[in-house]
């Protein structure tokens, strides 16, 4: 009798877990399909290698661009998208992922493709307007409805008992912006670099999980219910609210944050081989058109065109934004000092965790 009971329970338990496996799989989403596809005359294929929270933006933009390009030239464009942590995506391109264009979270990642694989010209950041960033964003806080921990600004994050969700800066571009935004706030408020460092250290003391990418961190916070505040891309915060309803989450805008400039570039080495240079250029330039800018705005990225930005003025709160070049001296410096192996981030974590 007993044995039979056990035998009966096990398959059901497994079926239940399987069911969740299926759900989990669906909600996790996936990277876009891998290489393949035949190129015919009158049609062209582009691969856009991007980072996590641009899925929705490029889904909409790709449709619009394909239509525009077809009307203009009669050529059918199919755009494949690939998403993941920005650094990992850059490494993928370096190691042979045949990206025609890259639209990554950090200029540093694009630089790496140029440095390590030599397939992007070193002047890439001057080839398109606004440092090659067609839209900007910033880092805001997402908190649970009613803001139970009463979080208003960066100060509130270092209080004891507050759990912060942010991805690992070693693997996620967004997480590097988070780090720098917190640092800039503390430096402005307390004055010295030493105090800013201590502030960031306290902040990471309150971080229970380091996800590898921005979307993973959002899932941890939103789906798994972990943490009191998510440091998020502004657009990611808006999306979470739209998908799950305003009764679940609130956006808190800190007094100061960082001006995040996701950058785009065509990949010279690959487009010339694919014969896609012209369409790749067009694809990225169209991001600066009125329509491209509006699509960015609709997907909660701040348009770089001031006129179009004006249309979204109610959507984006005004806050003090510091610029990475002015404030930190550019990405190379930032990367070497803060995020390289054995850099500030590693040291801080080591100080916190080693006892």
């Amino acid at each position: 009798m007993k044995r039979e009971g056990f035998g009966k329970i096990v398959p059901y338990a497994l079926v239940v877990s399987l069911f969740f496996a299926a759900i989990g799989g669906v909600s996790a989403g996936g990277q876009s399909a891998s290489a393949g596809g035949t190129e015919q005359k009158g049609s062209v294929e582009l691969l856009n290698v991007s980072y996590d929270p641009t899925r929705e933006l490029y889904r909409e933009y790709n449709d619009a661009f394909a239509k525009y390009y077809k009307d203009k030239t009669g050529v059918e464009v199919t755009i494949r998208q690939s998403h993941g942590g920005s650094g990992g995506q850059a490494r993928g391109v370096i190691e042979g992922n045949e990206a025609d264009v890259v639209t990554l979270a950090l200029a540093y990642d694009v630089m790496q493709i140029g440095d390590k694989a030599g397939i992007i010209d070193s002047n890439w950041q001057t080839r398109l307007p606004n440092n090659s960033s067609p839209y900007t964003s910033t880092i805001v806080f997402l908190v649970r409805a009613g803001n139970p921990k009463n979080i208003k600004d960066w100060d509130d994050l270092v209080k004891s008992g507050v759990q912060i969700i942010t991805p690992d800066p070693k693997t996620s571009g967004g997480a590097q912006w988070n780090y720098l935004a917190a640092y800039a706030f503390a430096k402005e408020k307390y004055g010295s670099d030493a105090q800013a460092r201590e502030f960031v250290k306290q902040l990471y003391n309150n971080v229970p999980v380091l996800d590898s990418g921005a979307r993973g961190a959002t899932n941890t916070f939103v789906q798994r219910g972990l943490g009191d505040v998510l440091l998020a891309w502004e657009n990611e915060a808006f999306l979470s609210i739209n998908e799950l309803g305003k009764d679940q989450f609130e956006i808190v805008v800190p007094s100061l944050s960082i001006l995040a400039e996701p950058t785009v570039s065509w990949v010279d080495g690959i487009t010339s081989r694919h014969g896609t240079l012209e369409v790749a250029k067009e694809y990225l330039s169209y991001l600066y058109s009125d329509e491209g800018q509006r699509i960015a705005g609709r997907n909660y990225y701040r348009p770089s065109n001031p006129q179009i930005a004006q249309e979204f003025v109610t959507q984006f709160p005004n806050l003090k934004l510091v610029h990475i070049d002015d404030y930190f001296g550019g990405w190379r410096k930032v990367h070497d000092y803060y995020f390289s192996d054995g850099g500030e981030f590693d040291t801080i974590i080591a100080e916190l965790k080693k006892k």
Partner: protein, 281 residues
């Protein structure tokens, strides 16, 4: 009864085709295993020994090794016992749904490990079906070391069940009957007659689950909190090194892991053949 490769003709094995099949096996092994692994070793061999040592004796790396090996060990031990029970139930008894259960055992082999990790995280997180319940008792599985062990148990289970199952199936009923007729009780029969016969296979299953778990990445990173010095596993550290374009560092850690795993598997194999010999004598 060894097979002599270079001997007088008459001493050669009776079965034809030895030379051909051995040649093919070696070619296959070379292409699939030796070349990739030696590439890894050669890559790390570019590092001066001092630097290599500095890399792998770094406290963070050492801690990651400890975490990886200990959680894999716990998971394999768990599977050692529960895999045995499962295999026992599946071979010795008949019950409704047995075939389904039997088929389900292999699923952890089949589904992508990331899917396993995400679904386990969903189940065990604070608002997951099991997590809600456990949370009430103050037990946190997701985002802790326990989460890593759970993921490893999940992916390692089939190895133990599938290696032990055929052995249990082959056990002679007569042995048990003889033991019973000589007055042995159930526990004596199990521990003195059956278990020694099953043990070598069980060790194989243990070794396989252990080896599989050491390299596991996909399922763990979703259920672990990935905190350096706390829940950071070696494969994650390797991926992080790669993301920093630090190929030498990554291969140094990879080689160290390879050597450790190989030594461990060798030990388990020796233990296993020892157990087998003892059984025969």
């Amino acid at each position: 009864m060894g097979i002599r490769i270079f001997g007088p003709k008459k001493n050669r094995a009776k079965l034809p085709g030895f030379g051909l099949t051995l040649g093919l096996s070696m070619l296959y092994m070379t292409i699939l295993i030796f070349i990739p692994l030696s590439a890894l070793i050669l890559y790390s061999a570019k590092l001066p020994i001092k630097e290599f040592w500095a890399l792998i004796s770094d406290e963070r790396v050492v801690t990651a090794f400890k975490i990886s090996f200990s959680s894999t060990f716990y998971a394999a031990v768990f599977n050692f016992f529960f895999g045995l029970i499962l295999a026992w139930v599946l071979t010795r008894y008949n019950f409704f749904g047995k075939r389904v259960l039997d088929a389900l055992i292999d699923l952890p082999f089949a589904i992508p490990t990331a899917v396993a990790g995400i679904s386990l995280a969903t189940l065990f997180s604070k608002n997951g079906i099991l997590g809600v319940f456990l949370h009430k008792f103050g037990i946190e599985i997701a985002y802790s070391k326990a989460g890593i062990v759970i993921a490893l148990i999940f992916i390692g289970l089939p190895f133990v069940v599938r290696t032990v199952q055929p052995v249990i199936q082959e056990l002679d009923k007569e042995l048990e009957e003889a033991a019973s007729s000589l007055g042995a009780n159930f526990y004596q029969i199990f521990f003195r007659v059956l278990f020694p016969a099953i043990f070598p296979a069980l060790l194989t299953g243990f070794a396989l689950a252990f080896a599989r778990g050491l390299g596991e990445y996909g399922s763990i990173i979703f259920i672990s909190s990935n905190m350096p010095y706390e829940t950071e596993i070696v494969p994650l550290l390797i991926v992080k090194k790669l993301l920093q374009f630090d190929y030498r560092g990554a291969s140094a850690i990879g080689v160290t892991m390879l050597v450790c795993a190989f030594v461990l598997l060798l030990l388990i194999n020796l233990l296993q053949s020892f157990a087998r010999r003892r059984k025969i004598n």
